[in-house]
């Protein structure tokens, strides 16, 4: 009941703030959105004041929803599970445009020039590309694999040069779509990379694309600076033949930040992180963790990585030092920690605690709880500074 009242209060507050702010000048560099996964809504937050600026409803099925931002950091493009692509004006707190572009989707990316928004689809599979201004369709790229079958796509990221990289989940392929010469994509396909690649991401310099495999123990590495492109297996057989634990939540490859010398990658079906040298891509260590890692998010300076865990061990966060590869802190944040987002230079980290209907704000150096916001079933947290980063 308390939750309902809080949610209603937030709606009312949002309306008041929007009205009050209509004539007030402000920037957007310290804003962000929090996905409310069960209400089909997002909450717009001010990360300086730790306050709620507004709330936007009518976004459909928001389980696993994510967002990218326009170059001016005023507009958010929100990707819903139901194929909805919604453009939100953060200053006015309203939907600018919404299209249902597919039956079932899993995230998206925005091109480096800010003109194209690409969406990764499960049904009908493939990737669709839209004009970021109007959300009019620009390109439809079905993912028909080498075996002739359509594939779900995952791990979609932007690459420098108006390109996108993504992974074909069913087929085990990595594709790069180059839209630098207008609207007809030129595709580069790397086939036979491994079984069931569940996610992919690119390093913050846009150079190294990594795809995690679910169907076998290993990660696929592509050095995008070396033509012709080659999919190279790293961390091969990291499970050493041991039986995987049941995986109750797929890990994600997100938030490497500027990790310096090592990258920490979730091991699938194991209570550990795999440490990889950021130049040689050889394994340099393992860090035992509280549960199966879901997100391993680097603080923007790269010194610490915060890790959350799969159900049912999802109330806890481990913090790992990337210099010593040792855990330096463990905290219990609350029931169902789903996502973590650092402020742009890493002084705070915002944590969504789904079953507590709360976003908790921690000092990223002292680990002290600094504040909290009431948000109904929060999941993904996305700050506008993502607009300035490659591979978001």
């Amino acid at each position: 009941m308390r939750t309902v009242i809080l949610a209603l209060a937030l709606v009312a507050l949002g309306a008041v703030f929007r009205a009050a702010d209509a004539d007030e000048l402000r920037g957007t560099g310290d804003l962000g959105i929090v996905i409310e996964r069960t209400s089909g809504a997002v909450t717009i937050v001010d990360t300086t004041k730790h306050s709620v600026l507004g709330r936007v409803e009518g976004l459909g099925d928001m389980s696993h929803a994510s967002a990218v931002f326009s170059r001016d950091q005023r507009y958010a493009f929100v990707f819903g599970r139901d194929g909805g692509l919604t453009k939100i004006d953060l200053l006015r707190g309203v939907i600018v445009k919404r299209v249902l572009q597919a039956g079932n989707s899993i995230g998206g990316a925005i091109s480096d020039d800010g003109t194209l928004v690409a969406v990764s689809n499960y049904t009908p599979g493939g990737v669709r590309v839209f004009d970021s201004d109007t959300l009019d369709p620009v390109a439809d790229i079905p993912a028909i694999a080498a075996d002739g079958k359509p594939s779900k796509t995952v791990g979609l990221v932007d690459l420098p040069g108006r390109r996108f990289a993504y992974t074909l989940y069913d087929a085990g392929e990595i594709w790069i779509a180059d839209l630098s010469n207008g609207e007809a994509p030129v595709l580069t396909k790397l086939t036979g990379i491994g079984k069931l690649p569940y996610d992919g991401n690119v390093t913050p310099d846009g150079r190294h694309y990594l795809a995690g495999l679910f169907g076998e123990d290993g990660v696929v590495h592509v050095d995008l600076w070396h033509e012709p492109l080659v999919a190279e297996r790293i961390l091969d057989g990291y499970g050493r033949g041991e039986e995987k634990l049941p995986v109750y939540k797929m890990p994600h490859l997100e938030g490497w930040g500027a990790t310096g010398d090592v990258m920490l990658i979730p091991a699938v079906g194991r209570h550990e992180l795999l440490a990889v040298d950021a130049r040689s891509f050889k394994e340099v260590g393992r860090i035992p963790t509280y549960g199966q890692p879901v997100f391993a998010v680097a603080r923007p300076d790269g010194r610490h990585v915060w890790v959350n865990f799969a159900h049912p061990l999802n109330d806890t966060i481990d913090v790992v030092d990337t210099l010593t590869l040792k855990r330096v802190h463990r905290l219990v944040a609350g029931p169902a920690v789903l996502h973590m987002e650092f402020t742009p230079r890493g002084h705070e980290i915002w944590v969504s605690v789904r079953d507590a209907d709360r976003v908790q704000i921690y000092d990223a150096r002292t680990f002290a709880l600094k504040g909290e916001l009431a948000v109904k079933n929060p999941s993904g947290i996305f700050f506008t500074a993502r607009a300035t980063r490659i591979g978001q």
């Binding site: 996964r37 069960t38 099925d61 928001m62 389980s63 696993h64 599970r81 139901d82 079932n104 899993i106 499960y122 049904t123 779900k152 995952v154 989940y169 069931l196 569940y198 679910f214 169907g215 049941p246 995986v247 109750y248 939540k249 797929m250 159900h311 049912p312 169902a336 789904r354 079953d355 079933n377």
Partner: protein, 94 residues
């Protein structure tokens, strides 16, 4: 959500609110919050028509080898699994 504890056919107490939340949120992370599918298959009554509750219970408890569907036996009892299977067949979690 307060008084949602019911008894299963086997006489074991079933926490309906807890299981409903589990299905929507945790099954939903792969199968979609509305259970219309995602990385995992749709779990709507139509899409489950070819399986009976006993078969679904088996899949829930032991998973599907070669796919990401895990066995939930470490976390769920037989009675809870059959309760979830029945609920999915009826379309009671939407």
């Amino acid at each position: 959500m307060g008084c949602s504890v019911t008894a299963s056919a086997a006489g074991e107490a079933i926490d309906a609110a807890k299981l409903t939340n589990l299905v929507r949120q945790d099954c939903g992370s792969c199968h979609g919050l509305t259970l219309r599918g995602g990385l995992g298959k749709p779990l709507t009554p139509d899409s489950l028509a070819d399986w009976d509750s006993a078969q679904l219970k088996h899949i829930i408890l032991d998973g599907v080898p070669g796919t990401p569907m895990p066995g939930w036996r470490p976390l769920l009892s037989e009675a809870e699994a059959i309760w979830i299977a029945d609920m999915l067949k009826r379309g009671a979690v939407q």
